[in-house]
C-alpha cells in the first residue's frame, strides 16, 4: 500500500531523514517510533504530499506522490502533529468542509459526516464551536477530519500526544477499531503507544531506520542481556556488593527494597548464585524472578547502540 524507497530530506544543511526504505502492506497498522527530532513528522509530510522529498520515491496505492499527488492525497487521511482545525467553525461544519475538500459525492456527505462523528464519539459536541472544545475533543475532531472520506490509508502523527490517560485509551481503541479496513501508519515517541495498537514497528532515530519488526520479534532480537528483579525485606550495601561480585552480573540498581540485576548475555543460569548472595547477606528475599525485557529498554538500547556506532 505504501512503498518508500531511498527517501531523504534535507532542510538546508540539516539532514532530517536519510535513505529510508520500508513498505506497509494493506490492512497493516505500523508504528513509527522514535524520539523527538527523529524525522517521523518529516517522513509523514512527504508521504502525504505536503512537502517534496530531497531524494527518493514514495508510492501510495500504486501512485507516485510526486507525479500523481491528487490521487495519493485522495487515498490518504492525514492527521498532522497539530490538528488542522478551524477554531471558529462548528464540528459539523468543519467536517462538511473536509468532506467536500476530499470530493465526497454530495449525496454521501451527510452520511460520511455522521459516520465520522460516530466513530470518533463526537455526537455530543457536533454543533459546538471547535475553539471551545477541550484538547481531547479537538484531537478527535482532527481524527474525524482524517476519516471523513473513508480513505484506505490513514497517516496519524502522534495521535494521542497531550491527551489524558482516559482519552488516550479511547483514541487507541478507535484506531484499533479502524484496523483491517484501513492501512494505518502512526507515529509516536512513547512506547506503550505503539505496543498498544501496532502490529509492526519501525524504529527511527536521527533520520535512519534502526529496527523494523513485530513487537515480539524486536524483543527476541534484542534480548542479549537478561534482567532479574528482586524484592528484599531490607536492602543493604554489603548485600548489593555481594550480588555485584557474582561473576556474570554486570550491574545492580536499587530503588528502596526493589533491586534490578543486570546479567551479561550467554552466561547460563545465574539465578541460584544471585539468590545465594542475597540470602547470605541477610537481606531477606520476598520476590525473585526474571524480567521480560520491556520495549522501553529495547528502545533505549537501540538508540544508545546507534550512538555508540557513530562515536567509533
Amino acid at each position: 500500500m505504501i512503498q518508500v524507497t531511498g527517501l531523504s530530506k534535507h532542510y538546508g544543511p540539516r539532514t532530517a531523514i536519510d535513505d529510508l526504505n520500508f513498505e506497509v502492506k494493506k490492512g497493516e497498522i505500523v508504528g513509527f517510533l522514535g524520539p523527538n527530532g527523529a524525522g517521523k513528522s518529516t517522513t509523514m509530510k512527504i508521504i502525504t504530499g505536503f512537502m517534496p522529498a530531497s531524494e527518493g520515491d514514495v508510492t501510495v496505492n500504486g501512485f507516485d506522490v510526486f507525479d500523481r499527488p491528487i490521487e495519493v492525497k485522495r487515498a490518504i487521511g492525514y492527521l498532522p502533529e497539530t490538528p488542522p482545525i478551524y477554531m471558529e467553525m462548528t464540528v459539523r461544519d468543519f467536517l462538511d468542509f473536509a468532506a467536500r475538500l476530499n470530493q465526497v459525492a454530495k449525496s454521501d456527505v451527510k452520511r460520511q459526516i455522521d459516520w465520522a462523528i460516530e466513530k470518533t464519539n463526537l455526537g455530543d459536541v457536533a454543533n459546538r464551536i471547535i475553539g471551545n472544545l477541550s484538547k481531547g475533543y479537538k484531537q478527535r475532531v482532527g481524527l474525524a477530519q482524517a476519516l471523513v472520506h473513508n480513505p484506505p490509508v490513514l497517516i496519524l502523527d502522534e495521535p494521542t500526544v497531550g491527551l489524558d490517560p482516559k482519552q488516550i485509551i479511547e483514541i487507541r481503541e478507535l484506531i484499533k477499531g479502524l484496523a483491517g479496513e484501513h492501512t494505518i501508519v502512526l507515529s509516536s515517541h512513547i512506547l506503550p503507544e505503539v505496543t498498544a495498537t501496532c502490529g509492526r514497528i519501525i524504529v527511527i532515530n536521527r533520520g535512519r531506520i534502526v529496527a523494523e519488526d513485530t513487537i515480539d520479534g524486536l524483543t527476541m532480537r534484542l534480548k542479549k542481556g537478561l534482567l532479574l528483579q528482586m524484592t528484599v525485606a531490607a536492602a543493604n550495601p554489603s548485600g548489593i556488593a555481594a550480588i555485584k561480585a557474582v561473576p556474570g552480573v554486570t550491574g545492580v540498581s536499587a530503588t528502596g527494597p526493589k533491586l534490578v540485576i543486570e546479567l551479561a548475555p550467554n552466561q547460563g543460569e545465574l539465578r541460584d548464585r544471585v539468590a545465594k548472595a542475597a540470602v547470605e547477606s541477610g537481606m531477606g528475599i520476598l520476590e525473585f524472578g526474571a524480567e521480560k525485557v520491556s520495549l522501553e529498554e529495547i528502545f533505549l538500547q537501540l538508540t544508545t547502540e546507534e550512538n555508540a556506532k557513530e562515536a567509533v
Partner: protein
C-alpha cells in the same frame, strides 16, 4: 483547475469572515464613510445647482459628474485602505494555525486553493460595494443620473479593488503575521497607485510606461462611462500575475 474545489474553499472563507467582528466593523465603517461622503457631495451639488439657477454663477453639472464620479473615485481610495483587512488573514492565518496542511494534503490543486481564496475576498468586496448601492439608488429616486456611468464606475471600482485584493493575498501568503501583511499591502498598492505621479517628470517613453502601470489611471475611463479593452486587459493581467506569484510563493514554501 476545478471550480468546485475553489468554491468549497471560497465558501468556507466567506462564511468565516462573518464569525469575526472585523467583517462587521469593516462593513459598518465603510458604509458610514461612504454615506458621509455621499451626503456631503449631494449637498455641495445642490448648492452649486442652486447658484447656477439663481445667479447663473459657476457652471452646470450633471449628477454623474457632480456625484457619481467623485463618489466612486473616493470609494476607490477608501477601499485602498480597507482591502488589506479583507485579505490579511486568508493565508497568514492558515499558516499560523497550520490549517494550511489540511488544504495542501487534500486532493485539490494549489491553483484551486489560491483561486478559492481570491474568490472569497472578491465576494466580500462585492457585498461591500453592493451595500453602498443604497446611495446611487437614492439618486435615482430623486433625479436621473446616467446609468451607463454608474454601471461602468461600479465595474471599474470592483476590478480595481480585485487588484488591491490580489496584492493583499500575495502578502498574506508571504508572512504569518497579519499586521505585516496589511502594512506591506497598503505600501505596495499605494505605490502602484501613485506611480503615475512621476510620469510627468519622466522621459517620454518612461512616462507612458508609468502611466500604464498606475492602478488608478485605468479607472479614469470607467468613471467617465467608458469600458475600454485596454483597461480590462490591464486589470485582468494584474490579477492573473498577482495570483500567479502567490501560487509560486506558496509552492516555494513546500520546498524548504
Amino acid at each position: 483547475m476545478s471550480f468546485a474545489n475553489a468554491w468549497t474553499i471560497a465558501r468556507r472563507d466567506f462564511r468565516s469572515y462573518f464569525t469575526t467582528p472585523i467583517a462587521y466593523i469593516v462593513l459598518a465603517l465603510f458604509l458610514a464613510i461612504m454615506g458621509y461622503m455621499f451626503f456631503n457631495m449631494l449637498a455641495y451639488f445642490n448648492e452649486q445647482a442652486m447658484n447656477y439657477q439663481t445667479y447663473n454663477m459657476g457652471h452646470s453639472m450633471s449628477l454623474s459628474e457632480g456625484v457619481i464620479r467623485p463618489l466612486y473615485g473616493n470609494m476607490n481610495v477608501i477601499l485602498l485602505f480597507f482591502s488589506p483587512a479583507i485579505t490579511m488573514r486568508l493565508f497568514a492565518e492558515e499558516r499560523k494555525n497550520q490549517t494550511i496542511q489540511l488544504l495542501m494534503t487534500s486532493p485539490v490543486s494549489l491553483t484551486d486553493i489560491v483561486f478559492g481564496k481570491f474568490l472569497s475576498a472578491t465576494l466580500f468586496v462585492a457585498v461591500m460595494i453592493g451595500a453602498t448601492l443604497v446611495y446611487p439608488i437614492t439618486l435615482m429616486i430623486f433625479g436621473q443620473p446616467d446609468v451607463g456611468t454608474l454601471v461602468s464606475s461600479i465595474l471599474g471600482t470592483f476590478l480595481l479593488t480585485c487588484c488591491l485584493l490580489t496584492t493583499g493575498i500575495l502578502f498574506s501568503a508571504m508572512t504569518e503575521n497579519q499586521i505585516v501583511a496589511v502594512f506591506l499591502t497598503v505600501c505596495v498598492n499605494f505605490l502602484l497607485w501613485i506611480i503615475s505621479w512621476s510620469a510627468y517628470s519622466a522621459g517620454p517613453v518612461w512616462s507612458d510606461v508609468l502611466m500604464h502601470l498606475s492602478l488608478i489611471n485605468h479607472f479614469m475611463k470607467f468613471s467617465q462611462g467608458a469600458i475600454e479593452t485596454a483597461d480590462l486587459v490591464y486589470y485582468f493581467s494584474f490579477i492573473f500575475f498577482g495570483l500567479f506569484l502567490t501560487h509560486r510563493v506558496l509552492d516555494s514554501f513546500r520546498w524548504r
